[in-house]
Symmetry: C2
Subunit: 347 residues, 2 copies
DNA sequence: CTGTTAGCGCATTCAA
DNA sequence: TTGAATGCGCTAACAG
């Protein structure tokens, strides 16, 4: 005899009431006599009944499933972000359904496809799709909208105007400028920026603003672009930019902490360059590990609580609310990877 | 006019067939005329229809949702493990429904409750519950079993004999012994083990085996237990164990890499102790960041692919299969945080 | 307040 | 192969 899930009918039978009574006993705000309700709950308890939320969803216009599309979940910042977001959702009674865009390592496997990911989530009738990774083509945004599902884009390229997508953006340009100004203040004159090949506009915007700010200070920036957003990308960049010392790069901006850490560690431990005396390094994110005493990375902070809060707001807003654009401020966290500012303006 | 999800009936109408035909067109192996099928697919495409997997689940005996219960998703090893597992599930057509056991930071919030987490997942009729965190009381295992849901425990205390739960265990005792032997070979004589307060038997077993092995070598071990499994726990331990230098601890085993890294970094950068010359440190997990040149932590490796593979096997096994116990071997990864072995046996 | 009834979207019998 | 009918577990509108 296969064990089976207990149904409302089972409970009704045992409690000697109708199925509706059972349903009502589990619906907050429904009108049930306290006594009936108690009897139902008792029977449910005895039988081990619990509401089938999947079936319940058939009736309501939206489920309490929130789809999160992410890649790179091992990344120190993204994992923290995902952790915070899923916890916050849960506190609101929402549940996290994950689609992992990580490439399947098996030979012959197809590369991950964002379109399929979204469709998959639509099949589960999620109420919202949150994009932590990848760039959403307008067509996908429209697809969701056509199904009454809002999309929330976090640090993603903004979709076409009028598209039904909320966007949460930390101030990439401001952060890039902050980084450039700080390196220049430290006396760096030969700057480089390291970014991954991902076409994510947030990372591009960080790099572009960095370059623009440097240019306005009369400096040109060596731009190093290759590989994924990973530690190894930073390692490779450091080797390529610093080895031999011909270019005499003295300031590096990594568009994510993970990249910056790869570059900094390689400079320090593999190439023997003193940080920050010979080379200053600055990152973007403020991942937890960046504060560790083994790193002490100076970085542009995106406040995780702020980011999570803005995301949650967007997710919770009524289905018919106008789309919104939430900006999250960034600030510079001074630690030990950038040389002290020279000639800072006196008091 | 609210946008609504397209239903099979809509498609049937447009294609001029019955709803059943639509259903069959989307059911692999059903008997449909190729021509009908084509017409249905065309109509579906035009309308933007996709199967409602929630409704589909009402008919099948199990859903394709796998519930994962985890805490500490920001932990460097756990995030990697979660990443690998969710990707592997997806490659098998299964979907990850997450319950995050992270404490709600809001004031007055209740602490996370594993029982509620499991019940929540049962409400979604998941086919399997995977426990990455917490210890499963037998009563919870029985609860799942009563609902025909298998439980998979990863590095968790084994439930009562006969309970319907698959367990995946990396060799905690073997790893603990490996760590002890290595520190002893390095010439360490004043050992300490650092563990968190969590009652997780895996971490306890690592520590216990470490102490036992040290004892058999004539050494007693200072046991430091406090706080959660986190970097800060390692930091606090290092301060408490090493500050002042009275105890002259010369070898530390952290039961997770994160703890070991906290201890090592604090010893090195805050207390100014040379690692490995003055102090040797060894961890357990082999998280990606442990290999970084800023750490080079010698550690006991749990192979992530092996762990993920074993987990997947357990999840995919038929519902009526006997419960299984899978052991994952560990080995020592030599890096730079332990002094070279002295007087190793020649040839 | 309660039970009856009628769906929600789908898969699967059963006849045809 | 196909359509009609039935049921999955639940909610909601309706009468009582």
């Amino acid at each position: 005899m296969e064990p089976r899930f207990v149904t409302a009918a089972d409970v009704a039978r045992r409690a000697g009431v109708s199925r509706s009574a059972v349903s009502r006993a589990f619906t907050p705000g429904a009108s049930v006599a306290p006594e009936t309700r108690a009897r139902v709950l008792e029977a449910a308890e005895a039988l081990g009944y619990r509401v089938n939320r999947l079936a319940r969803t058939l009736h309501r216009d939206r489920s309490d499933l929130v789809g999160i599309i992410g890649a790179n979940l091992g990344n120190p910042y993204i994992s923290a972000q995902f952790d915070a977001l899923s916890a916050a959702l849960q506190a609101e009674g929402l549940q996290t359904l994950l689609v992992n865009l990580r490439p399947d390592p098996r030979p012959g496997a197809e590369p991950p496809d964002l379109g399929r990911a979204v469709e998959r989530l639509l099949e589960y009738r999620v109420r919202t799709v949150v994009l932590l990774s990848g760039a959403a083509p307008d067509e996908l945004v429209r697809l969701c909208a056509a199904n009454g599902v809002r999309m929330v884009l976090i640090n993603r390229p903004a979709p076409a105007a009028g598209a039904l997508a909320d966007v949460i953006d930390s101030d990439a340009a401001g952060g890039g400028r902050l980084a450039a100004r700080r390196l220049i203040a430290a006396g760096c004159r030969r700057l480089a920026v390291v970014l991954s090949e991902s076409r994510t506009s947030a990372k591009l915007a960080r790099a572009d603003a960095f370059c623009a700010e440097a240019a306005s200070g009369g400096l040109t920036v060596r731009r190093w672009t290759q590989g994924p957003n990973s530690y190894e990308t930073g390692v490779a960049a450091a080797r390529s930019l610093l080895e031999g010392g011909a270019a005499r790069i003295d300031g590096i901006f990594g568009v994510t902490d993970e990249i910056a850490l790869g570059a900094m560690n390689t400079a320090r431990h593999e190439l023997g360059l003193a940080v920050p005396h010979r080379l200053s390094v600055i990152g973007f994110d403020d991942a937890p590990i960046s504060a560790w005493s083994s790193h002490r990375l100076t970085t542009v902070r995106q406040s995780l609580p702020a980011l999570t809060g803005a995301t949650l707001e967007a997710i919770l807003c009524p289905a018919d609310a106008a789309v919104s654009h939430r900006a999250v401020a960034v600030d510079l966290v001074e630690r030990g990877s950038v040389a002290p500012a020279r000639g800072s303006a006196p008091g």
